[in-house]
């Protein structure tokens, strides 16, 4: 290895791609320096022309774009607004609650109840079925056995 043929300054100039007549003259006569220069130029070129594979390159670019321009979730206003209006209307109108009884109907019902009770206050309890449940009739066979 001989690194003293060309000065450090000359080497730097050569690698930077600058013209140097004295360095060129030395290179023409020195195989060792030519070999070193060739290795350098090859190495720098390798670093400078390297490319990632196209798939990776595209993927990384797309990922960067997605990060820089995040995709906003589209809101379907034309579908959301009618649904919201329907919900609001349902909350206000509450169709599931019992229908209010009209005052006129209520009065008629009360009048009918009053009339029934005035005739016989126990009439509502006098239904034969109700009475038979509350007061069961005595069984004749049991009475006969005892006597």
């Amino acid at each position: 290895m001989n690194t003293n043929h060309l000065s450090q300054k000359q080497w730097a100039a050569l690698l930077a791609g600058e013209e140097d007549a004295a360095a060129a003259a030395h290179l023409a006569a020195c195989a060792a320096c030519r070999e070193e220069l060739a290795a350098w130029q090859e190495g720098l070129a390798e670093l400078g022309r390297w490319e990632p594979d196209p798939w990776t390159r595209t993927r990384v670019r797309e990922q960067a774009l997605d990060r820089a321009f995040p995709v906003r979730r589209r809101v379907w206003w034309w579908a959301v607004l009618p649904a919201a209006a329907a919900l609001l209307a349902a909350l206000v109108l509450r169709p599931w609650r019992p229908a209010p009884v009209a005052e006129a109907d209520l009065a008629a019902v009360l009048q009918e109840v009053d009339a029934t009770l005035s005739q016989d206050p126990l009439a509502a309890l006098a239904d034969p079925e109700v009475v038979s449940v509350v007061l069961p009739e005595p069984q004749p066979s049991q009475d006969a056995g005892r006597s």
Partner: protein, 195 residues
Amino acid sequence: MAPRVEGEEERTTLVARARSGDRAAAEAVLRAVELPVWRTCRALLPPHEDVEGAVQDVLVKVLKKLGSYRGEGELAAWAALVAANHCRDLLRRRRLVPFVALETGEEERNDPAAVLPSPEPDPERALRARQGIQRLKRALRELPARQQQVFSLRFFAHMSLAGIAAALGVDEGTVKTHLHRALARVREQVKEAWP
């Protein structure tokens, strides 16, 4: 090949559209800048780092920072700068910069490319070439920020010295000085592999 956004007018229009939320324009911007970003991240990050993740982060940064792009120099150069700074910050946060070992050979073992058969007919030469590239990458990570930026712009974004000067807002002589210093430092660490 990455599409180049040549004219200043075209570039300005594209950037304005991307800034206003035009996804197609943003994609065109990324296509124009992504290769230098990939190369910069690959060169400046150690093999165990998530290069893909870093590239994705840089591309998002590029799109979000389009407002701060003043139109000086090429978009690709500006993006390569963002990438170089991002890698540097990433390594600084993980405190990896001061602990990069030079002699372990771990990177060569971890690099999948190192175990693939090489098309080079001379195996010894191919091995030296691979080792040289790994050493070069390690050396790059240890460069001061400005030298690293200039190196990345020159060799990964393929910028001219004048273009780099425009991108960094310095004069061409300053760029040349940084580049020469970077190359001299890197060569010191690589010359054993590339005698």
